[in-house]
Symmetry: C2
């Protein structure tokens, strides 16, 4: 009773906000949209949250947790370092929708510290997992040292995030796939065996 359980209304608001943040971004997401989509009445939003921003931050936190967990599954320790990176690169994606977190990078809401921190948290997590895998592979001798682990991690992540931009700009998944093929070729070049 005491704070452990949260009402279904709150959760439905967060679910709707998560969908809308991905589909339209923060500025474009109006409280009215959230209410219509969640089927919840006007005042309830302001019972559970201080306002639109607080709701978005709650939704963002949930998205970050989900995406970090999905990333950790891709980077499971039992795989070889090279396989982890290959799986991340070749992962299934809804390319035309854009990265759930990265697509928010240009919203004015990024000026809000907690908002920006959530996006940075996710991207930093992926980048660290990538760098970690490269370092491990180099130490094990299965990846060569042509690229610095940190630089390689940033490179691979940037290709993905930039690939989303290309796919959306041309409205064509193939534009991301070409960039991805370049990254995969780089990974092959790094592979020793």
């Amino acid at each position: 009773m005491s704070g452990a359980r949260r009402g279904a209304g709150r959760d439905r608001l967060i679910s709707a906000a998560k969908e809308l943040l991905w589909e339209t971004g923060y500025e474009q997401m109006s409280p009215g949209d959230v209410l219509r989509r969640s089927g919840i009445g006007q005042g309830s939003l302001y019972h559970h949250f201080e306002g639109k921003l607080a709701l978005a931050l709650a939704a963002l936190d949930a998205m970050v947790a989900e995406e970090k967990a999905a990333i950790d599954a891709v980077f499971a320790a039992e795989k070889s370092p090279r396989q982890r990176i290959a799986d991340y690169l070749g992962r299934e994606r809804q390319m035309l929708r854009g990265c759930r977190l990265g697509r928010l990078a240009n919203e004015t809401a990024m000026e809000t510290p907690e908002f920006r921190a959530a996006v940075a948290d996710y991207l930093g997590h992926v980048e660290r997992r990538l760098a970690e895998a490269v370092r491990e592979g180099q130490e094990a001798g299965t990846l060569n040292r042509t690229l610095d682990p940190t630089e390689a991690g940033a490179l691979f992540l940037a290709v993905i995030e930039g690939g989303y931009v290309l796919a959306r700009a041309h409205w064509d998944e193939a534009r991301m796939l070409v960039a991805l093929a370049g990254a995969q070729a780089v990974l092959r070049q790094m592979s020793v065996t």
Copy 2:
């Protein structure tokens, strides 16, 4: 007189719109903002343009023309292919502001064909220049063939566009610079001499 000359008012509106599109994006740019910044009165905007979208498209076209010209200067033919790519990668950038065109990739206005086409035009132009340089270098024997020209062009562009996302997310230019260092290392790996 007959259509050759455009009033100063129109140009000032476009200038203000160009600034605002870069600073805040399209959805966030209100006609009121444009008017305040340009110092022009209410009705004049609708004398020169059908509405906000038409103004933004005119501003976009101007931005694309400017940026393509700047890109063509970077890819001047008298440079070696490798130098052209290196100059593009190492180009001075306002990393925290984001790519003037690429930052619009996630706006809902991208659903408007002319809007999306402008962004795609710029990005396609850069990608072609990059691929062209790689192909030329390979034919001249100064770049090896570890990467396909098309894939390399997409890779380099995606790293830049993704680098902007990383820099903005962490609010730290260094995050883009690390990814860039990775791309530069890849370019070095491709260099024969």
